[in-house]
């Protein structure tokens, strides 16, 4: 296990390095500069600004300076657009919101999705099965930018039960995560984020469960006279959620780094929206920081998924 971890981390280093290199040069190859959209700068001032951020040096030198800063000091540099703010601070501020939303959505989707999937598999071709599959189809076919405004229209504008948008914080403060938002603020965004995930998770669980329930060891468990719920919980579920584990890794990375559409519609200060704005404004350092966080998350979550798979499935050998 320790060897496996070490090996995977060693493989991850060149991948991360490639990601950083590719993103850096792609970003710089794109036309435009972080300083053009502002008030027309005189050439001297622009030169001074460029010099301040070391952007007057050759690109290769800038690249090495950047990589050195990241690797040696974990320093992602200053933002080019937000004066006096470092990229680290910006990421921290915005990641909180995206992480709270993403985690809640994953939790909700996993609980609802697995429950529905198991029920559908146990009552195959009965009404609950059809209802679950209908929900699964709807969840996949109706994109978030349709569900979000429709829910806002229904529960926000017409019924007035929930706020249309915004992010207010409560006084409850957790370690690491910080102040929690008001529940009313996150009900709609989390639902919108969770719906497509519920669809996929319930389908995966149902398919896995149906296959597992046909296998011999389940028949053995039945023959032993174990009660059905125990068979499901202890024997079948464990094997049935294996495909789910490998799906959730990358899905989590996507949700945790923020969903643009949801953040835009509900006007939430999350990472996704910030990423697009920064890319459009060529805030190079912020975009690079975001890319690094995203890539690292994907690598780590995939690693966790593999470890989890090995823990759940004794046939899997870590090598």
């Amino acid at each position: 296990m320790l060897r496996f971890l070490l090996r995977r981390l060693l493989v991850a280093i060149p991948t991360m390095f490639l990601v950083v290199t590719l993103a850096f040069f792609m970003m710089r190859a794109a036309p435009g500069s972080p300083f053009v959209n502002e008030r027309q700068l005189s050439p001297e001032v622009e030169k001074a600004v460029m010099a301040k951020y070391g952007m007057d040096r050759p690109l290769a030198e800038q690249y090495f300076t950047y990589v050195k800063g990241v690797v040696l000091h974990g320093d992602l540099g200053p933002s080019l657009k937000y004066k006096d703010k470092s990229v680290g601070d910006i990421l921290k501020e915005n990641a909180r919101v995206s992480a709270i939303l993403g985690l809640s959505a994953i939790l909700l989707a996993s609980i609802v999705g697995v429950t529905l999937g198991v029920l559908a598999a146990l009552r195959q071709n009965r009404s609950i099965d059809y209802a679950t599959m209908a929900l699964a189809i709807i969840g996949v076919c109706i994109p978030t930018f349709v569900t979000a405004p429709l829910l806002v229209l229904a529960f926000g504008s017409k019924l007035g039960w929930l706020p249309i948008a915004g992010w207010d914080e409560t006084t409850i403060v957790l370690p690491i995560i910080g102040a929690l938002p008001r529940l009313a603020n996150i009900v709609l965004p989390v639902t919108v984020l969770a719906l497509p995930q519920i669809a996929i998770i319930s389908r995966l669980t149902r398919a896995g469960m149906i296959e597992v329930l046909r296998s011999n060891y389940i028949r053995t468990a039945r023959a032993k006279g174990l009660p059905e719920w125990l068979i499901v919980r202890r024997h079948a579920l464990r094997a049935a959620i294996l495909p789910l584990v490998s799906y959730l890794g990358p899905a989590c990375a996507g949700l945790l780094t923020g969903s643009l559409v949801v953040e835009k519609i509900f006007q939430l200060p999350g990472l996704g929206k910030f990423f697009v704005i920064s890319a459009l404004q060529r805030d190079y350092t912020v975009v690079m920081g975001m890319v690094i966080v995203y890539a690292a998350l994907i690598l780590v979550l995939n690693l966790i998924a593999d470890l989890l798979l090995a823990a759940l499935d004794p046939r899997v050998r870590l090598s």
Binding site: L22, A23, F145, L153, T257, V291, I298
Partner: protein
Amino acid sequence: MSVSAMIPGSPERAELLQNAVKGRSLWDDARRRLMRNKAAVAGMIILAIMVLLAIVGPFLAPFRYDTVTKTDVWLAPLQGGHLIGSDSLGRDLLARLFAGLGVSLLIGVVATSVSLVIGVVWGAVAGYVGGRVDEVMMRVVDTLYSLPFIFFVILLMVTFGRNFILIFLAIGAVEWLTMSRIVRGQTLSLKQKEFIEAARAAGLSPWQIISRHIVPNLLGPVVVYVTLTIPAVILAESFLSFLGLGVQPPMASLGTLIANGTQDMEPAPWLLIFPSVAMALTLMGFNFIGDGLRDALDPKDR
């Protein structure tokens, strides 16, 4: 069997051939199973209607998609000759819906073709050649996977401008990664088969083996994945349009129509509802066919 039945073109032979038991290929089998799948057939019918509307619709609609009529702003369905209403500039929603449907379907098909070509070639070469080459090619795929989709797209957009054709290419160039992984996996197992060894023994070049023997045998999983990629691409385009990076006005796509619909949903809910329904039906059609094909081509379920 008489001797004359062996002579090509003789009436006896024609009769013999007619009475012979028809062999069923894998694809015949798959087609029969697909046709028995009600959801898949429904999906095909939905899509056929959508394609027909996208092609014929613009000629039947009483308005053009880009005609601005100042007096017709936000007309509800059936008013002023607008069958499903008009938008904030007084443009006919039906005409715009037909145009948008066509653009979205076109983007779906073209971008998927781009991803198909890149993905299949990349995956087949990596899987067949193996070794160091495979490792490097797959490392490239891993790296691209770790970059956020939107990062590529924004960079491509700002580099090449908001060009209609480039949206196709941009999305296609990002969507090929999963395809290449699937193809590589299949190629790895195909490579062990005897017929590949036979082809190699017969002196075929690697490129000939890949194009004549490997790729045709990959068709099953590739076809399934293609039918699932098209809706993903249509969604990706709408997503970009929603952010204002996709199709530019006065052109329409399902995504831009929905994006405009959300802005005006309070005074004119039909602007959101009709495009959303069209989008949901289109995606549903593709997904049904994709699922049906997967069941039909999956030998495990026989």
